[in-house]
């Protein structure tokens, strides 16, 4: 993908992240007292609500794409050689896939997994 398109991705994910993170913080610190917000039963009810689960997955993807693309931009500013650029791009894609995969596993298990004590 062209660098200008990737920069646009960075800006679009930035705006989306501001919106999604704001909603996340409001849910954690405004709607409920903090101790209630992080209680097991409250989090379970959030995950088991399809809309909230979708929201958390979107938050996961947007923030990780924005974060790792940001590191990619920093690393491209740091050094400019063809092999370095190639490995930075490959590393960024791998980091996004692995971290989004791990976070998605948490969401899927929280939504569909059997509840244990």
């Amino acid at each position: 993908m062209r660098e200008s398109r990737l920069m646009l991705v960075q800006y679009v994910t930035a705006v989306l992240a501001v919106v999604l993170v704001s909603i996340h913080l409001i849910m954690q610190g405004v709607l409920y007292p903090y101790t209630t917000a992080i209680s097991f039963s409250n989090i379970l009810s959030i995950y088991r609500n399809g809309l909230y689960a979708t929201f958390l997955e979107a938050l996961l993807v947007v923030t990780l794409v924005h974060g790792f693309d940001g590191v990619r931009i920093i690393l491209h500013e740091w050094r400019q050689t063809a092999p370095w650029s190639r490995w930075v791009d490959i590393g960024t894609i791998l980091a996004i896939v692995i971290s989004v995969g791990y976070g998605t596993r948490t969401v899927i298990l929280a939504v569909f997994g059997g509840v244990a004590a």
Partner: protein, 160 residues
């Protein structure tokens, strides 16, 4: 200026790399904002990766198979204390600064808060960097401080 024919030594002097970030000599406000935007970005990503790890304990950790209250209580016993909450307050500071300053950067990138560039004259300040985007930088700092106070009140409520 073309760099064609520059010696290796000249290129090395020109490429300051990571040290170029850390040397504040001759930094203006926008350069400091650039520096903090990157430092806070890396810090937030580091937290985010840690947060991926700790939230996975809601489903029993890396080897879990579903929501587990004992696993969640275990991870809570490690992070739900004054030190953990202090880290969260610091996170809120950098998060709000990064978000608000990031909006300033996007507006500047699309030319919405910059003035028309003019001929460079003494004292050699960029004419395009108007007061509007400077105010937005200070607004970003103010928002971060207010958010930190809010986070402190939320997180330390009833801990005393």
């Amino acid at each position: 200026m073309s760099t064609t024919g520059a010696t290796g030594e000249e290129r090395a002097k020109n490429r300051r790399g990571i040290r170029g970030w850390l040397n504040p000599y001759h930094y203006n406000l926008e350069r400091w904002a650039y520096f903090f935007q990157r430092v806070t970005g890396v810090a937030i990503l580091a937290y985010l990766l840690g947060h991926l790890g700790d939230t996975s304990f809601f489903v029993g950790g890396p080897t879990g198979s579903g929501p587990s209250s004992s696993s969640w209580a275990f991870i809570g016993s490690i992070f739900e204390n004054s030190f953990g909450h202090l880290i969260l307050v610091l996170l809120v500071v950098v998060l709000f600064f990064h978000g608000a300053n990031g909006i300033r950067l996007i507006l500047a990138e699309f030319g919405l808060i910059l003035k028309k560039p003019g001929r460079i004259e003494y004292p050699y300040e960029a004419r395009s960097l108007g007061l509007g985007q400077k105010y937005l930088f200070w607004l970003a700092l103010t928002v971060a401080i207010i958010a930190a106070i809010w986070a402190f009140l939320v997180l330390f409520e009833g801990m005393g």
